[in-house]
Subunit: 240 residues, 2 copies
DNA sequence: CGAACACTTCGGCAGTGACCGAATTTAGAT
DNA sequence: ATCTAAATTCGGTCACTGCCGAAGTGTTCG
C-alpha cells in the first residue's frame, strides 16, 4: 500500500529553496536581515546587479513569502516579510558555512553579543533582556503566550516608550527563537518599540553594513539601571 | 565608500538554497525527516526518479552538509546530517506553504501532538517530556547546558535504558528548537535512547509514510506512570 | 569464478532561469 | 507641461542543471 496522496502534506521545501538558490537573492536577503527596508536600486547596488534584475529577484522573493513591499511615492521599499522568516533565515545562515572555520559553539563573538533580527534585538542581549522582563513581572508567560504583567505599564513609563496597541487579539510580544543562543527572545510591537528606543537614546548603535549592535557606554548604564544586567554578563568576550 | 570584503562574512544562503531547490531533493529530505536512514534505491523510489538521478541528488545534499551517508556492504545508507539540520528543515517546512490553508497557530493536530524529528521525539509530547525530566530532577539546566540531575540514574534504571556514553566532553542531551510548539525539546544520545525504548516497548508507533508518532494505550499508561503526563495534556484534539 | 545486485560515472538532451539592453510606466521635481 | 528618476516589462542570449540510457565499479551470494 503506497499512496502519494496520504494525509500528510509534503512540504515543498523546493519552493523556498528555489527562492534562496541564487547568490544575488542571498545577498539581497542578507542586506535586509537587519529589519530595515530598502529600495530596489539600493538592493541592486548591494547585490552588484542591474535594477531590472533586482526587480525580478524581489518579485520572486515576495512571491515566495520571504519579503514584503510597500510603495511610498515613486519608491518601493522591500523588507523581510515577518519575524518567523527572519528567524528561519538566521537558522539557515548559521548552517550555511559548514565547511568554514565557524564553530557551532561560538559563532561570532561580535554578532552573538547583540544584533538586530528583523526589527527587534536578538543575540545574547535579546535573550537576557527577555529573561529580565519576565523575571521582573513586566511580562508573564502562560501557555507560551506572552501577556503584560503587573509591572508592564510601570516599565513603559520608566523608559518612556509607547507601544502601538493593535486589536485586542494581537499580542504585544511573541517568542522568537534565537539560533545563536538557542533560546527565546521577544519579537512583536513591544520588542520593536524597545529597540527603537535603544537606538534613539544612543544606547545601541548599528554597526555599518552589518546587523551587529554595539552597546554604548550610556547603553551599559541603562541596562544596569533598567534591567539589572551587568556589563560582564552581556559582554562575554569583548573584542575591543 | 563601498567594499565587498567587509568584516562581516556574508552567509551564503544560496548554497543551502540550491541544495533545496529541486522537487526531487525536497521529497528525499522529507522522506529522511523522521531520522531513519534509507538506501539510494529506496529514496529514488520515494522521489519517483531513477537511481542514477537519486545518486546525483544525494551527492549534492551531502556536499551541502544536509545529509550524511554510511556504507554497509553494498548498500549506502543516507540520513539527515544532524539535529540542527533537522530542526532547520522543520522550520522551513513550517514556512513553505504560506499560501495554503495551514494556519500558524494550529498546523496539524496529528503531527503537532507527537512526531519524530531526526531521531528523537518532537512535537507536543517531546516538549512535555522534556519539561517533566527537568521538573523531576532527572535533568538539570545550567547556562543552557543540559546535565544529568540527581535522579538521572534512577530514571534510566526505571525505564530500563542504557545511554551510550561518549567522551566526557560530549553532552548526553542538547536542547533542540521545536517549531510547531515554539519551545525546546531534547535531542542527543539520551533522547535517541528514549525514543527507541518507546518504539520497542510499543508505547509509540510510527505512522506509515509520515513522521507522526501514535501513542498506544500502553503508551498512555507508561506516560502517566513514568512521567506524570495525563492523556488529556498530550492529546489536545484527538483526531480519532 | 561468475551471476546478480547496489551504486556510481559519463554523455547528450531538454528545460529553466539569471542577466542585461531597450523600451514603457509612473511619480516627483522644475 | 516638461524633465528626471525609480521601477517594471519585454526579448534574446547564455550558463546551468535535472533527467535517463549506457557503461563501469564494487560487493554479495551460489
Amino acid at each position: 500500500m503506497y499512496s502519494l496522496t496520504s494525509m500528510t502534506i509534503e512540504p515543498r521545501l523546493d519552493i523556498i529553496g528555489a527562492a534562496l538558490a541564487d547568490p544575488s537573492r542571498s545577498r539581497i536577503l542578507c542586506e535586509l536581515m537587519d529589519g530595515r527596508a530598502f529600495t530596489n536600486k539600493e538592493l541592486a547596488c548591494a547585490a552588484c546587479i542591474s535594477p531590472q534584475t533586482a526587480s525580478a529577484h524581489l518579485k520572486q522573493l515576495e512571491g515566495a513569502g520571504l519579503t514584503a513591499s510597500l510603495r511610498s511615492g515613486r519608491h518601493v521599499y522591500h523588507r523581510i516579510a515577518n519575524a518567523d522568516v527572519a528567524a528561519i533565515l538566521e537558522g539557515l545562515a548559521q548552517l550555511s558555512p559548514t565547511d568554514h572555520l565557524s564553530r557551532p559553539g561560538r559563532p561570532d563573538a561580535n554578532t552573538s553579543c547583540a544584533r538586530s533580527c528583523y526589527n527587534h534585538i536578538a543575540g545574547r542581549l535579546g535573550v537576557l533582556m527577555t529573561d529580565r522582563l519576565i523575571a521582573r513581572n513586566v511580562l508573564t508567560v502562560r501557555n507560551d503566550a506572552i501577556r503584560a504583567g503587573p509591572r508592564y505599564q510601570t516599565f513603559l513609563d520608566e523608559i518612556r516608550i509607547e507601544v502601538p496597541l493593535g486589536g485586542t487579539g494581537k499580542p504585544l510580544a511573541m517568542l522568537c527563537l534565537d539560533w545563536t543562543e538557542r533560546r527565546h527572545h521577544i519579537s512583536g510591537p513591544l520588542a520593536t518599540a524597545i529597540m527603537q528606543k535603544f537606538l534613539e537614546a544612543k544606547w545601541l548603535e548599528r554597526r555599518t553594513g552589518s546587523r551587529a549592535l554595539i552597546v554604548t557606554e550610556d547603553g551599559f548604564d541603562a541596562l544596569e539601571r533598567r534591567f539589572c544586567l551587568h556589563r560582564q554578563d552581556i559582554d562575554l568576550a569583548d573584542p575591543v
